[in-house]
Every structure is written in structure tokens, then in C-alpha cells.
Symmetry: C2
Subunit: 947 residues, 2 copies
């Protein structure tokens, strides 16, 4: 109502797709001793209650749960729910499979999970089921790339609940809690513009108005014959809260989230009292009250904001890091559970490979010599792993185990698809062996076989070379490529660190190393034979070499300390001082006069800003062969590293092994590695957002408010999804990571990355467990191993190296093995593409959609301005893409593939008065030729048939 | 099914009408911080869920809650519920306003509350709403009188959950958990026969099968696509439990109570899983399983037991005391909250008076010079006070306060009715003053007035004489009766004990004493004038008199100790040695190697079997006047007593004042008075059951099993509702109490009664508070005052005294006051009866029913054999009953007035093979003349009009 303060009550439930319980425990309401929560009952109850009063509204968010429920409903119930959706009484918001984490997820997995959830809604409910609003009420900080994706998915607006407390205070004062987020430096506005609203109470109801069964607020007692009639009190309290809230928002519409975690299991409690609240508050209008309360939804509220036709402030940075108070920075989860974070990233690579081969192998993939199967299990496992308490590492241990188990299970299913598909493409049904433990040099086949072949499948749309390391027990092997040509190979001893980590899970003495090449979206097959009388393997020398070097890079070492001392790019002839070492922060145990906040799964709070060095010197061994050069550094029983340079690599690899972190001193430890350089970085460093665009980070600074820095370390940490760099005018040192990690640049020229954490106290944000990972294999504490890839370049060309390098880490080749000789008719090499795509173009998605349709996403992988070579628009011809698939038709979709691009209309928002309409995007050259501008992702539904 | 084990699943909720929260807090779901419970939502939810599957069943018990809910339902919902009731899907069981306590309630209040609840069901739902089964699943021991009442209310059977653990063990072994209870020694079988079943798990579901939101048992997870499919496990566990249970019951039908305290707030959880359980368990029948599960109700289960046509064992004693383990006797609540127990008993007297005057005053009662009102508030207050956590004293303090407040509020409403009615009957609209604090000598009117009148209304159907004590400040008064004749009066000083108790609530120096007489169901008016020059009041003498004595009794005192030393009946010329003193048991604090059970609101557990004497000697004062003789005994600052003998009384009054019990020694105290006599009682004593029939109690003995006595004191305590006695061949000492109390006879010739308790520990039965009563007036601890009335008689005639005496205590005269002179036309005397009823007949109920109908209950108040004079059948003519009401019609009802007596049919149960049908009751002499046999209560609906 125009002359009223309109209060939009939004009944909602926040259903974590796993946290204290597993996703299925939450669905069924099992293990209520851990947390009372049962989503099946929530949906049962809400539908019942919506039917009782047509004014009532509800929003539902997590399709992972809705899907489970829908499966079990009768036709009658399904019709009922469709009607509720059609009438807008039940509205889906967000609608992805889960509400993804924003700090530790990779954009490709987020797009996949959103697509999966939204597809289900689209196919089940049609356009009325398409969410108009993105809803990330719980994630612990907000990534700009998420906003960009949401904009491209067609959402009209975005609401969230958590942001830095200083930021919130400033925004409340300035009535700046609703704003326009311009979420890309590259994409032409309004392509990545997203209207963003900050909810008033996180996602909870105002104090005193929680009527869920999990709350104790007084119900409305409106029978005057009974004790404690309280209608007047409730109405007065509500009016006071509404009027207070209206002071910190711009329009005469305000929103209240009436719900919280797993609420509405008994929706009657909420709705019965909300019905009364609305009735009695609006009844006051007869006495002149100017407050109008209504059941509403975020999209309805958003519509009113849009109708207000105001101008909104523009935001171009992001909402990291998130602090809920002065000593409570949620920057620990950037690194929490490093092993799960890596396994999730690796699983994404598996899934993309599985998806691609499901398409390329045609119907044989799903039904072939290795059985019937599909990628569905793996897709779901990856989708739930994107949840903001999954890959974030903020779940209970048993739940983390469940996520990992689901991924492993998904991969089992995908192996059937991959085996079938490779059989179809190669013409050989020989059994394929998968070795998932190559990172610890375990593979029973290669360890024992005299003759085997290795199929290397490359999921990238350009050819790659890739170093292969296989555990073996022989001392010399012959390796032939697909053309029967010998390949240079070396046998080197398994490192002591690897032996220590693998325990009794394998017994290979050596590793066979060789470089493989694989065609775009295709495979190449190498055969390996034991050469009985080969020379003894290259042995390590117990000393620090002055340097290791290939044609691109040279890294020097300090002979006294065994540490790196410099890095040079031999092509560009640039050199920086570079020392690198390992340290640990002593995690706060909460016993402090400043704050009782301990470090935990969410929160990083070092006890002191000065980390302890693990060892000033490293014991070293070195190894120099034609394939690889290594310096193996040993810092302590729980920290070691291999500094490695492959013959053809433009990146220096630091393979770190950290753990088990000792805690017998009762001190929680957060281990970092720090790179100290001569680069004059001026307190600035750069991190990527969800693996895509890069944001500048400045020490003790926030772009949108005057920061009072209260945590000199934790308050300067940011999520690193795939890369971080420091630079000055001439040098840029880029670190590409193999998983999400947290990091910061605390000193000039320095970059630190947190690798592993082991904590002894819960950080009181709900998870109720200290982050103290152990496992059956590692009862003494989990060991994590990973790789940092370092490149040194001129700033203006650094992206030319780190963009493809990071893609190779994200989508790594899949090795499959076959024992003995291959059948002579076996096809040893295959590419699914007619040609490699241009260097700027990344094939983001290729997956089966319907029987004769596939989903394709092409991405321009460079930001505007970051490369001289690659930041031009590129055009790709869809009909000339595939070698074995004929493209019969192509229609463009929004990013989440739930709407035709041409039908996508979004609200327009003003950032200044009198703005002019923006020019339309220029048309593609032709219907088949599509042009990608920097950072664009274009999504197509292709109708295809096998050639 | 005949060849199956049939498992009757009975979905139910147990909704305490106040316990940890007040009845209205429970209804609304307020104060869920104390206990999560909201009955409005339970009923909402159950109705919804019953509609989803016609197989589902539910039983509802407490009409206090159902009434609150029904009031707020729409017509549509009411129709829906009626349909569910008509179809047997929603079944009422028990159906009283509450589930009454059995140990501490008086039969008249129980009958009233049952009548109120059942009337509501009858009028709302007709015959389908009439409960067939009594259901006392929670009360802490079971009274025989309750069983008798239930039989006379027409119930086919009775189920309960709690009984002594030794009793249960024996019954399980002997398959004797279902039996026929013959609940009266006087009534002709099967009038008081009640089939009684002991439920298998208290009233809870079997272990692992609680699917309420308040439970954590695993739900049935039957989607094979999700984790942890558990159908097989659930079915196997259920079959094992069912087969175990079938071993301890007689038939191939067993019952399982699927519910518990305040469960089914979200009934979907229960029903969804029960639907699945039934489906999957019965699906096993296809594989040969012989177990059939079904939704059922207690009446349906009972019908199957009846159909089994077996013979059942006969029980004639009761189920007191209740112990749930060796050191856990629930005998403390017999005395817990003595002040509340007295106030409840007094309120019953008020309510009966209010009911009677509402009838006798006709339409004027509800609408007269003092306003519009009725007895409804008081009826409801009394009804909820019968709940097994109300008058029992086992509720939280704030809830006890709420019960008291409701009674006080009820009495406020009744005062309007009483004033109106007395105005109509007396012809005077003069304002009537009520003095509710005469027990502590507080009444502002009498304290200050020079002239006032006292109207004495007698609710008994026979004339009474009654000693009146009024607080005054004068020293001499003239008292005239209704005929203007002077009445002997005395002014005596207020005792020190009374001054101490009343604190600053009054300032009377003296008490004016005189004996009043009041006609049956009527009043007499006395006028009192200050006699300015009267003599000084009778003064007390600081010494122990050798004896006090009237024409009936003589009590002697030991001059050394100040204690009673003997009691004589001067008519029968019998004398016993009688010493009486006060002691306290040290309440167990739970710190004991034997058991960690503390004494608490429920449980009595003295730390030692030897109580501490409070003082071996009493300081005494004495007072001897023509109206009364008193010995005032002072034992300690917290125990005093007045031994009192009125001129016309056959009972020696012991007015005890106990409290505040000191606890600064950190010892909980349970204060008793003990009467030690020369009676040779052989370990036997007698207590009444709910104020009616008397049961024999034998030390360390139970009639139905070999008792292993583990608590020599607490295990010998029994509830005393209105009287207890010890006797030998020649002497019977009877003690009539003014409230329910616990007591025992631990030594030969001895009788102890617990008066007051103050405890420092919770007894871990849920109430969560120590029984440590304080109040605004008594922050240092509650003081309780009460009276024990002692009579000494020959055993064969003792009832002739104690029956009428106890009735006078239960239904005591109501005094109302008028200031100044009465209008000359005022009618000073009135009786509602044409004549006093015969001495054996008690007018139990006279209350308005409809506009021209009243409910009448007449009761034969003697047991067969207990009196030579009075145990003959007595006939009363209903048409000649009332003086001002013409009885136009009379129809007999069952005891609870929800069924015509002639339509009342109950199941017949066999206690031995080949029993013959019992002879029919002989007919009444005529339609108006009704005959009462010993202990019979007959209930009539009378059509009346004012003469």
C-alpha cells in the first residue's frame, strides 16, 4: 500500500545440504540426537499449511532436498504442489541443488550444481518454477563471481544474510543495504549486474517473533478467556521493530525472514501465529496505524523495490573476508579440510571427463561391455559437495566422510561410463584399470606388470603435454607413444616423504616418469614394457644443488639453508629473489583477555601475528634427469616438499606434504607456506574469485568502508580458489593452487598460503567439533599433499601462462591402464574435436542433456586487459566443433540452461538519475558462429547425432 | 486375525493439565523454554493427519484441552472432527476434564470433573463421543475408589501404566497383567467391577519406536536410492519386541501405546512412520510371518480381550503405594504442598455451596443485584485442580500458584452467585462480605465493626452445629440467633501462633467464639453487637491443665511434658493411652551408597527410619471457657498446636501450625505428627480411598504378592484422603483430616501423619524443582495450618461418628457477613429441603444443569457392616425433597451423568468358569422413591420449577 510501511513476511526454511548430519540424515530426520531436523517433514507440513489459507506463502531453496521429496509423492500430491507453484504460493528461490559455498567453490562446479537444480524445477514446474531471486542467506562471505554467475543465470536480484559487521554498520547508517553489484570487470553491463539486498536479521525472524517448534518465543494468545492474553503486547512489539527496521532501508517496503535452519517441520506453528499477527497488526489500521503486514516472497519484495524506481549505489568489489565481530574472521574455512577440498576439485575433473565421454561415446557409454550406468550419481555427489558446509570444510567429520564417500561412489559409476565410452572410441573392450592413488605412488597394476598401456584422456579443448609418474618396481622401461615412437622416460626412487605417507598401501620402490601428449577432448595411448636389463634408476644426491633449470625457468637454492633463493624466467630474462619456507600459527584456544574466540573450522584466529618457523633449514636431496629435476626438502617429520621442474614446464612445482600436525603440545596449528620476494608489491596482492576473474586485495583496507583492522593476519586473508599473485611494474609471481586455500600478503613482496589446519577447540559457530582430522589410515592426524605452481612473468603477459596452467590443474588428464598387449586393431589416439579451440576459448561444459541433445558451454578464459594476445573477442563455429558429432541445431540458453537466452529479461536498476539505456550486444556473425568476448560464457543446447 | 499375533498400535498423547507449565501455557505452547509442549498444535496436527489415511486412529483424553481447542474451531472444522469421531478414527478415552490424581483427590471433586468433561463430549458428539475406556496412564498409584467410580460411570475397562515394580514382575511372570478389579466391599457386583489392564511400556512406545519430534529414534528410511535404507532392521526389531510382549499377556492381541507426554504436536512424523511400519511388517506375512499390526484404540483392543472369553483374576485391594524401584516410593506426594491440598478441599466446599445456591436462588442467582455470573469458572478451576500434577503437589511452584489463583478467581465469580442467591432467599440486597482468612483470624469487617450479622449457610442435607471464631478487637459481644435469642459467646485472645502466622495481614487482638446452628441446605443468621462494657476476655493460663473435657470426651495431659497422655469417651466409658508429638524425618539428599534417590515432590525417602523429635516437651497455655477449652502447645519456633474441645463436639481437635521449616542446616525436613496409643493394632491400620470406602493396610505386606520391603517407612505409607484409624477389639481411634495427607502405622498402636515437607533436592521424576515452598508472605518458607479431628469409639459404632464428622469437614458452612443492622424484612433462616435427609444419606450434588433441570446425586454414606444403625438401605422421595423447588420429573443417570442409567450396558467379565448371571437389582418402591444401599451413589436429572 502506497502510504503505508509494508512489511513483507517471508516464511522460509534454511536446509543445509549436510552439516551436522549428512544430507540423507537431514532429509529423513535421522540422528535427531545430533540436531533436530527432518526435511521430508518440512515439505509435508508446508504444503499442508499452504493449502489452509491462500494468503500464505513459502519459499523453498535447496533442490537436493526437494528432489528427494518429490520422488516419493503421489500423483495427487504432485498436482497439488504444481498448483501451489502456479499460484505463487510456493515459490522456489535460488533453486540450485544446494546453496553453494562462495569462498571455496570453483565456478564450473557451481554452474553445474545450479544447472542441475534449476533443470529439475524447470522440467517439473515449467516457467512458474523458475526462481527469480538468488538467495544465499548463510554463506560466510560473498564472492563477486557468484554474483556475476547469478546475473548471467537471469536472476533479478540476490539476497544474503552475512557480511562484515563494520560493513553492515556503515550500510545501515547510510541506508545502503540494498545496492547494485557490478560483478565483472570484463563483461559489458548489465550482463553481470545484480541487484543485491542485505537481509535485516541474517535470515532469522526479528527477536521475539520466532514461532517455529525450535523456538521459545511466546505464541499469540488471543483467547480472552484464557490466561495471559497477549495480542496487544505482540502487536506493539512488532510495530516497534518494523518502524526501527524502516529507518535503515530506503523504501516503504521492508522484508522480514520468518524462518531459520530446518524450520517449518511443523509449519502450523509458524502459520497459525503469522495469520494472527497479520490479522491483529493490520486491524490497527482502523485506529490509524500506517503499518501493513503481508505474506510475501523475496521476488514480490524485489518487485516493490524495483517499482520504487530509486537509484542505488554501485559495488564492484566483493564481500570477503567476513567478520561477525572484531576478532571473529571467518577466514579459516578457506583452508579447512584441505584433503576434502582437493578431492572435490579432482572429482570435478573426473565428472567433466565423465560427462564428455558420455557424449562422445554416444549410447554405448551408458550401456556397453562394462554395464549400464551414467554420470548421475557423480553429478549429484559433486552438487552436494558445493554446499556451504561441504567443500567449505565446516561440517562434522562424519559428514565430511559422507561427502567423500559420495564422490568416490560417483566415480565408481562414472568409471563404467568412461570404460564403455573408451571401449567404443578405441574399439577395444579390454578391461580398464583406474589408479586413483598415483599421488602417493600406489597402483597395483603398474607396480607389478611387465607390460601395460596407459590411455591419457585430455578433457581440455586444446592439446596438452603432461608429466606422468607411475609407481613401478622395475629399474628401466620402454615407453612407446601412440605412433610406436619411443618416449624419453626415467625411473627415479620413490621419495621418503611418499613412502611415509602411503604407509602400507603400496610397495613401489620407484617411479617411472615420462611426458605424455594428448589431443583436445581426446586420448592418446602409451605402451610401457619393463626393460629387464635397464640401468639402475637415477639416484638422488644428498646435497643442495645450486639450481634447477629447464629452458623456461631457473630456480636457485641457498646452499646453507637448502631453501629456494631466486627464480628466473629465462625467456623474459627476469629474476626475483625468492625464499620460501613453512611456518605455523599457534591457533587461539579462546583463553585471551581480548576475546574468547578460538580458531576453528570457520574462524582463523592466530594467537600471535608472528608464525613459528618449522625449520630455518631444510635437509635436501636432489635428482636431476632429462625428464625432471627435483630438490627434495625435509623440514620436519611433518613437513616436506619437492621442488620440481619438468623439462617442458613453464611452472616451478612445489609439492608440499604436511602432516600429521603434532598436537601433543596442546597447541592447535595452522600451517602456511610463505614466499618472500624482492617484488615491490605495495601491500597489494591479487586473488581469483571462484577460479575466474581476479580481484585486487590491499592490506588493512576495504574498498567500501573505513576499515578498523582488528586482526592483522586473519583480517587480511582471502580465499584463493585457483591462483594468487603479487606484482610490481616488472615482475609478477603467480601461484596456481590445486584446491581452494586461504592466503594473504602480510608483508611487502610476500605471499602466504595456508595449507593445513589442526585445531583443538570448536569455534562456537555451530559445528560443535574441533577441526582435528584423523582417519583410519592416519589415526595420528591427517596428512595433506598438494602442489603450488609458480610462474614468473611480466605483469602484462602473466595471464598467458597462468590461465592455461590453472585450467590444466582443474581439468587434468585421466589415466586409465590396460594390462598386457592391446589388441592390434585398437585405436590408440582420438580427438573429439575437429580442431583445438583457440587458446582463449575454454570448453567449459559438454554433457548429455536429452537423448539427442547435449549442453555446451564455451568460455572466453581471459579478462579484458590481462593479455595482449588473448583479450580479443574470439569466434567459434559450432558446426565445425566436433569430429564425431554432427550439430543439427543450436539454441542459446542462459548460463544455468533453464531459459532461452532470447527470453531472458531482467529488471533494470538505476545507479544514477537519468541513465540512458545501454547499447545492445552486437549480433554473432552467423547462426553457427558465436563470438566470445573476454570472460564471457555462452551456453548452448545442441541437437546432435553421431556422424 | 485369529491365527496371528495382533498388535494394536494406539497413537496417543498424554497432555498434563498443568505440570511444568500452567494449563494455558500448555494449551498455547507458551514457555517452551520450560518444556516443549503446545496442545493447540497437537489437536490441529492430529486432525490433519487423521484425514490423510482412513486407517489411522487417535485417542484423546483431556477435555480441559479439547474444550479450549474446540472453542476456537470453525464450523467446518467442527463438522470434520464430528465425522472423525463418528467413524471411530478419533476416539475419546477417559474424557474427564483432566486425568485426576488418585491418591490425593476427593471423590466428590473427581465425579464433578469427570462429569464436566463427559458432558461436553456428550453434548458435542453424542453417543459416539462417549468414552468406553478409562485411561489413567500416568497417575502414581491407583485408588480402588477410582475404579469403583469408573465402573459406575459405565466404562467397559480401565488401563493404566504405573504400578509397583515387584507387582509388575509378578504379574508379567503369571500373565496376570489384565484382571478384574472388584472395587467395592459394599456395592453388589458387578456394579463396581472394572476390567483393568496394565500397559506394557508405561504409556510409551517400545524402545526404538518413538517417532515423535521429541524423540531421536531412527525414522523408517525406505528409499533405496538414499543412504541407510533400514526397513529390514526396523521390521526385525519390531517383530522381536512384539513376540517378547506376547509372552507376558494372555491373548493373541497385544497393545502398544505409540505416544507419550505432549506428543503428536507434529503428528505427521508419527503417522508417516507408523504407516510404513504397518505396511512393511504386514508385508512379511507373505513370507509366513504370523504378526499382524494395526492402528487401534483401547476400546477396540478391549473388545478383542472380551471376545477372547477367558477368565481373569480378581483383585479387591488397590495399587498403593507405588514404587518404581527398591528405594523409590512415590509416597511423598500424598502430603506435598499441604496448603494447596487444603485450599483445593476448601474450594470444593465453596463450589458445592455455589452450585446449591445457584439452584436454590433460581434465575436470580445468575443475574441479580450483584451482577451476572455463574459457577463455571469455579467448576473449571476445581476440575483442573484434580489433575494428577495439581492437587498432588507435583507441579512446579509457578504452576501451583496458577492453580491456586484459578481457585481464588473461581471463588470471586461464585461470590456473585452466592450474594445474588442469598439476596433472593433472604429478601435483602445488603452487601455481603466474605472473609476468607478466618483461619488466621483476619476479617476487616469483624475486627472493626460494632454491629454486624453472620449468615451461616450449611451445604449438608442435615442440620449442623458449628463453632464460629471471628477476629475482633472488642472484649465482649452480644450474639443473637435468628430468633433473637442470645447465644453463649466468649472472647478469647488470639494465640501467639496465629499472630506469628498472620504477620501484618490483620490486627485482631481477640477471637469471638460461639456455636451456630444451620438448617439443612440452608442458612441461619446471627447478629453480633459489641458490648461496650463487657468483661475482659478470657485469659490463658501459663500451665498445663490436667485435662480438658466436655460431655463426650476427656483428654488428659502429662504435666511434665505438656503432651496429651490419654483420651476417653465419656459416653462409652472407654479410655486409651494417647501421647502425641511432632517429629521430622531427615529427607534423603541422594548421597547414599544404597541409592541416589533424594526425597522430593513425588518421592518420600527418609535418610533414616527414626525421625527426630522436635521437642520432647511442649510449652503450654490453657484456656477454659463455656464454649471451648484449649491447650495451646508450643514445640519450637516452627511447630505449635492447639488441642481444642468445643462444648458440643464429639471430636478432639488438634490444630497444628507447622512452618517455616528451617533448612539453614541444609537438611530437608518432612514433619509428621505421631499418635502413640495403647491400642493393640497388630500392624494394621485403615485408610479411606478418595474419601469413601476404607481399606485395611498391613505393615510390610501387600495382598497380591510377596513383598520384599526395602523402605521401612516410605514403603508403609498410604494416602489418607479424609480419615485413618487404628483399632483393636474394643477401641478405635479415628483421625479425620482436613485435606489429603500421607501416613502410616509403623509401630503397633501408633499412627503417624505427614503434615508438611520442605526439601532441597529434586527427586528426578521430571518436575525439576525441589519442593521448597516459599511465597511473598512467607519468603522464609511456607507455614501450613490444619486440623486433625480425633474420635475414640467402639469399632462397631465408630463410623456413626466419623462419617458425619468427615462430611462436615468436607462441606463446611459458609459464613457471609453484613455490616450494621439488617433490614427488618430480611429472612433470617432458610432451608432448601422439606426435611433433613436420613442420617445415612448424603446430598452429594445439587447443581444447575439446564434452564429447568438440575443434577442431583444422593449417596449412602456408610459401608456395609460398619454401623449397626446406618447400614440399611434407605429410601428417599425425590418429590418431597425440596422446599422451594417442585420436582416435575426425574430420570436416573450413570454416575457421570452422560448416559441414562437404563441404557447403560457394560461388558461382562468372567472370574471363574461357568459363572451364573447375577440377579438384577430390586426395583425402587416407586418412580419417585429411590432406595440407596450402602455406598451407593444415585444420580438423577430432575426437571424442576420454583414453587
Amino acid at each position: 500500500m502506497p502510504n503505508m510501511l509494508n512489511v513483507h513476511l517471508v516464511p522460509h526454511t534454511h536446509d543445509d545440504v549436510g552439516w551436522l548430519k549428512t544430507v540423507d540424515q537431514y532429509y529423513y530426520g535421522d540422528r535427531n540426537d545430533i540436531q533436530h531436523a527432518g526435511v521430508q517433514y518440512i515439505l509435508d507440513s508446508v504444503v499442508d499449511q499452504l493449502l489452509k489459507n491462500p494468503d500464505r506463502r513459502f519459499i523453498y531453496v535447496e533442490t537436493a532436498f526437494f528432489f528427494r521429496w518429490w520422488k516419493q509423492q503421489s500423483d495427487g500430491m504432485r498436482q497439488t504442489v504444481k498448483q501451489l507453484v502456479n499460484e505463487g504460493r510456493l515459490e522456489f528461490v535460488n533453486g540450485g541443488w544446494c546453496m553453494s559455498d562462495e569462498a571455496t567453490t570453483h565456478y564450473s562446479a557451481v554452474i553445474d550444481q545450479m544447472t542441475m537444480g534449476l533443470r529439475f524445477l524447470n522440467e517439473t514446474f515449467g516457467p512458474c518454477g523458475r526462481p527469480r531471486v538468488a538467495w544465499h542467506i548463510d554463506p560466510f562471505g560473498h564472492a563477486r563471481e557468484h554474483a556475476s554467475m547469478f546475473a548471467q543465470m537471469g536472476y533479478d536480484g540476490f539476497f544474503f544474510g552475512r557480511l562484515d559487521y563494520q560493513d553492515r554498520d556503515r550500510r545501515r547508517t547510510d541506508k545502503d543495504q540494498e545496492l547494485l553489484w557490478r560483478a565483472s570487470d570484463s563483461l559489458t553491463p548489465p550482463m553481470a549486474d545484480l541487484f543485491t539486498g542485505i537481509l535485516p536479521n541474517g535470515y532469522n525472524p526479528p527477536d521475539g517473533f520466532c514461532w517455529d517448534q525450535s523456538c521459545d518465543d511466546p505464541p499469540i494468545r488471543d483467547d480472552p478467556d484464557l490466561e495471559d492474553y497477549n495480542v496487544d503486547d505482540v502487536v506493539n512489539r512488532f510495530l516497534m521493530i518494523a518502524s526501527g527496521q524502516s529507518l535503515v532501508y530506503k523504501t516503504n517496503h521492508i522484508i522480514m525472514t520468518m524462518g531459520s535452519d530446518f524450520q517449518y517441520e511443523n509449519a502450523n506453528l509458524w502459520y497459525k501465529n503469522l495469520d494472527k499477527l497479520i490479522h491483529y497488526v493490520n486491524a490497527r489500521q482502523a485506529n490509524g496505524s500506517k503499518v501493513n503486514v503481508l505474506y510475501s516472497t523475496p521476488s514480490c519484495y524485489l518487485q516493490e523495490l524495483h517499482r520504487a524506481n530509486l537509484t542505488w549505489s554501485l559495488k564492484t568489489d566483493d564481500f570477503f573476508p567476513y567478520a561477525d565481530n572484531a576478532h571473529n574472521f571467518w577466514t579459516g574455512y578457506f583452508t579447512s579440510r584441505p584433503a576434502l577440498k582437493r578431492y572435490e576439485r579432482l572429482s570435478n575433473s573426473y565428472l567433466q571427463t565423465c560427462n564428455q565421454l558420455e557424449v562422445l561415446g554416444g549410447p554405448f557409454s551408458g550401456s556397453g561391455p562394462f554395464g549400464h550406468d551414467d554420470s548421475w550419481t557423480m553429478r549429484r555427489a559433486m552438487a552436494v559437495a558445493q554446499h556451504h558446509d561441504a567443500v567449505s570444510g565446516t561440517e562434522k567429520q562424519h559428514v565430511a566422510n559422507d561427502y567423500a564417500r559420495r564422490l568416490a561412489d560417483g566415480w565408481q559409476h562414472c568409471q563404467v561410463v568412461v570404460s564403455n565410452s573408451l571401449a567404443a572410441l578405441s574399439g577395444s573392450s579390454a578391461k580398464r584399470i583406474y589408479c586413483d592413488n598415483l599421488n602417493i605412488s600406489v597402483c597395483p597394476l603398474t607396480e607389478s606388470s611387465h607390460k601395460f598401456s596407459v590411455n591419457v584422456y585430455n578433457p581440455l579443448a586444446r592439446p596438452v603435454t603432461w608429466p606422468v609418474r607411475l609407481p613401478v618396481n622395475g629399474t628401466a622401461y620402454t615407453v612407446l607413444d601412440a605412433n610406436g615412437k619411443p618416449v624419453d622416460s626415467q625411473v627415479v626412487p620413490v621419495s621418503g616423504a611418499t613412502r611415509q605417507v602411503r604407509k602400507n598401501r603400496g610397495s613401489a620402490a620407484n617411479e617411472l616418469l615420462f611426458q605424455v601428449q594428448a589431443p583436445p577432448l581426446g586420448f592418446s595411448t602409451y605402451s610401457v614394457s619393463l626393460q629387464r636389463r635397464g640401468p639402475p634408476p637415477a639416484s638422488t644426491r644428498p646435497r643442495t644443488p645450486p639450481a634447477i633449470q629447464n629452458k623456461f625457468l631457473r630456480a636457485t637454492f641457498d646452499p646453507d639453508t637448502g631453501l629456494l633463493s631466486s627464480l628466473s624466467n629465462l625467456e623474459t630474462k627476469q629474476t626475483i629473489r625468492l625464499t620460501q619456507n613453512f611456518y605455523w600459527y599457534n591457533a587461539s584456544d579462546g583463553n585471551s583477555s581480548v576475546s574468547n574466540q578460538p580458531s576453528g573450522a570457520y574462524i582463523f584466529r592466530p594467537n600471535s601475528s608472528t608464525p613459528f618457523v618449522i625449520s630455518r633449514t631444510a635437509k635436501t636431496e636432489s635428482l636431476q634427469t632429462s625428464v625432471v629435476q627435483e630438490v627434495r626438502q625435509w623440514f620436519s617429520p611433518w613437513v616436506s616438499q619437492v621442488v620440481r621442474l619438468y623439462a617442458d614446464s613453464r611452472a616451478l612445482e612445489l609439492e608440499w606434504t604436511v602432516g600429521p600436525l603434532p598436537v601433543d603440545d596442546d597447541l592447535g596449528k595452522e600451517v602456511i607456506t610463505r614466499l618472500d620476494t624482492s617484488i615491490d608489491s605495495s601491500g597489494i596482492f591479487y586473488t581469483d574469485s571462484n577460479g575466474r576473474e581476479v580481484l585486487q586485495r590491499k592490506k588493512d583496507f576495504r574498498p567500501t568502508w573505513d576499515l578498523e583492522q582488528t586482526e592483522p593476519i586473519a583480517g587480511n586473508y582471502y580465499p584463493i580458489n585457483s591462483r594468487a599473485y603479487i606484482k610490481d611494474d616488472v615482475n609478477q609471481l603467480t601461484v596456481v593452487t590445486d584446491r581452494s586455500q586461504g592466503g594473504g600478503s602480510i608483508q611487502n613482496g610476500s605471499l602466504e598460503i595456508m595449507l593445513h589446519r589442526r585445531l583443538l577447540y570448536d569455534d562456537v559457530r555451530g559445528v560443535g567439533e574441533p577441526l582435528n582430522e584423523t582417519s583410519d589410515v592416519f589415526p595420528e592426524g591427517l596428512v595433506a599433499r598438494g602442489r603450488l605452481l609458480l610462474t614468473l612473468d611480466r605483469p602484462q603477459s602473466a595471464a598467458d601462462t597462468h590461465r592455461p596452467l590453472a585450467q590444466e590443474v582443474v581439468l587434468q588428464p585421466l589415466l586409465t591402464f590396460t594390462s598386457g598387449d592391446l589388441h592390434p586393431n585398437t585405436r590408440l589416439e582420438f580427438s573429439g574435436l575437429q580442431d583445438a579451440l583457440p587458446p582463449a576459448v575454454h570448453l567449459l561444459t559438454l554433457s548429455q542433456w536429452g537423448e539427442d541433445s547435449v549442453l555446451l558451454r564455451l568460455e572466453h578464459q581471459y579478462q579484458s586487459g590481462e593479455s595482449k594476445q588473448h583479450t580479443q573477442p574470439v569466434t567459434v563455429n559450432l558446426q565445425k566443433l566436433f569430429s564425431t558429432l554432427e550439430v543439427l541445431g543450436a539454441s542459446e540458453l542462459n548460463l544455468s540452461a533453464n531459459q532461452w537466452k532470447e527470453e531472458m529479461t531482467r529488471f533494470d536498476w538505476k545507479i544514477r538519475a537519468g541513465e540512458k539505456p545501454r547499447p545492445r550486444r552486437p549480433a554473432d556473425p552467423s547462426v553457427w558462429e558465436v563470438t566470445l568476448k573476454p570472460m564471457e560464457i555462452r551456453t548452448f543446447m545442441l541437437r546432435v547425432r553421431l556422424r
